[in-house]
């Protein structure tokens, strides 16, 4: 069962269940992760905040009740798993874990609370004040270009060219400065590295966004992103798009031979491919993935 703590601090382990925990403020609770704390707000890495309530259930509209995925999970783990599933359901606003039935129940709306010994409850919470932070980055070098992160709910983001040429001969040679207003409390997380695993420490009251000083590089050892691999665009492989590959040189074993087979046509075909395989519209689509599942709904 989830422990009750006085401190407004909760610690959540990273990807490893054995991650050591750390906390940032006051009478922090330091315990083995993952650990959800009763009555506190848990913000996951995707920036969704949940209010955690123990020994409590709610009436409401139930989407479904499903067996918990991990039979051996402790109640803490189990609610976390329910919560992660809720995250990916478009109309889920709350979830509960019942240790008696080892099931997750997902809610599309929440009614009246009532005491329930075996039930822990997590509901989406966006009640805390929005935080404001400034983030700036530089991008330089030939291998990595970076820019400020923006929250999905950012209402206004402005970029200004703040500096001249950055070091290196990379694609992006100007320094970008971004002022970003966050309208969720998603950004009060501080990411720290602990031993081999990553510990995510989150406080329910912090308001400082993850900030990089002007000209700073992205710290890839702590950066958490939602990424996509754009394979088969500027580098092609048969297995990535067999139709495209086989249309031109089905017997080629690699891009070298593929291009060799096409001869002078290779450039024509590839230039057309470069221009059409990835467009700015695709970037729009990627940026919007998962956003605003319940925009406009209470």
């Amino acid at each position: 069962m989830i422990t009750t703590a006085v401190s407004p601090t909760l610690t959540i382990g990273g990807s490893s269940a054995s991650a050591s925990a750390s906390a940032t403020s006051g009478a922090a609770v330091a315990s083995s992760a993952p650990n959800l704390t009763c009555t506190q707000v848990y913000t996951n890495s995707r920036g969704v905040s949940y209010l955690i309530l123990c020994n409590t259930n709610y009436g409401g509209t139930i989407i479904s009740t499903q067996p918990a995925k991990h039979k051996r999970a402790t109640a803490d783990d189990a609610l976390l798993n329910c919560l992660q599933d809720c995250d990916y359901m478009s109309d889920c606003v709350a979830t509960s874990y019942d240790s008696t039935t080892t099931t997750c129940t997902f809610f599309s709306s929440v009614g009246t609370p009532y005491s329930a010994e075996s039930v822990d409850f997590a509901m989406v919470d966006n009640t805390t004040a929005s935080s404001t932070g400034s983030t700036s980055t530089s991008s330089s070098g030939s291998t990595v270009s970076t820019a400020a992160s923006t929250d999905s709910s950012v209402s206004s983001t402005t970029y200004a060219v703040a500096g001249g040429s950055a070091a290196g001969q990379g694609l992006q040679t100007s320094l970008l400065t971004a002022s970003t207003t966050y309208s969720t409390k998603a950004t009060d997380s501080v990411y720290t590295s602990s031993n081999a695993s990553t510990t995510v420490t989150s406080t329910s009251t912090a308001t400082t966004a993850t900030a990089l000083s002007t000209g700073a590089y992205t710290d890839w050892t702590t950066y958490v992103g939602n990424g996509v691999n754009m394979g088969n665009w500027l580098e092609i492989e048969q297995s990535n798009n067999q139709y495209f590959w086989n249309l031109h040189a089905p017997n080629a074993s690699d891009e070298w031979t593929w291009c060799e087979t096409l001869g002078s046509e290779c450039g024509t075909v590839l230039e057309d491919h470069y221009a059409t395989a990835v467009t700015t519209k695709d970037i729009d689509t990627l940026a919007s993935v998962g956003q605003c599942f319940r925009c406009g709904k209470k």
Binding site: V124, T143, Y223, N226, L234, E255, A287
Partner: protein
Amino acid sequence: MINTKQLTGIDTLRIPTTYAAWVVVPSSQLYHGNQQTYLKTITDYAIQTYGMRVILGLHSLPGGVNSLDIGEALGHDSMQLL
């Protein structure tokens, strides 16, 4: 209490390239064209519009890296400028 729930969209792109996007190697069959132009168009847009981070992948080196198709070509392992 319950408010809109929003999830972060894709904020990071990994874009693999071959060395031919960056350098001209006369004896190479890999095509050197306007990869950088297309890349810059897309990444500028992604960075300036959405603040995305971009990871560029370099999939090969002249002469071949590891004898694999993606190292330059099957069987190429010299990793040597020709």
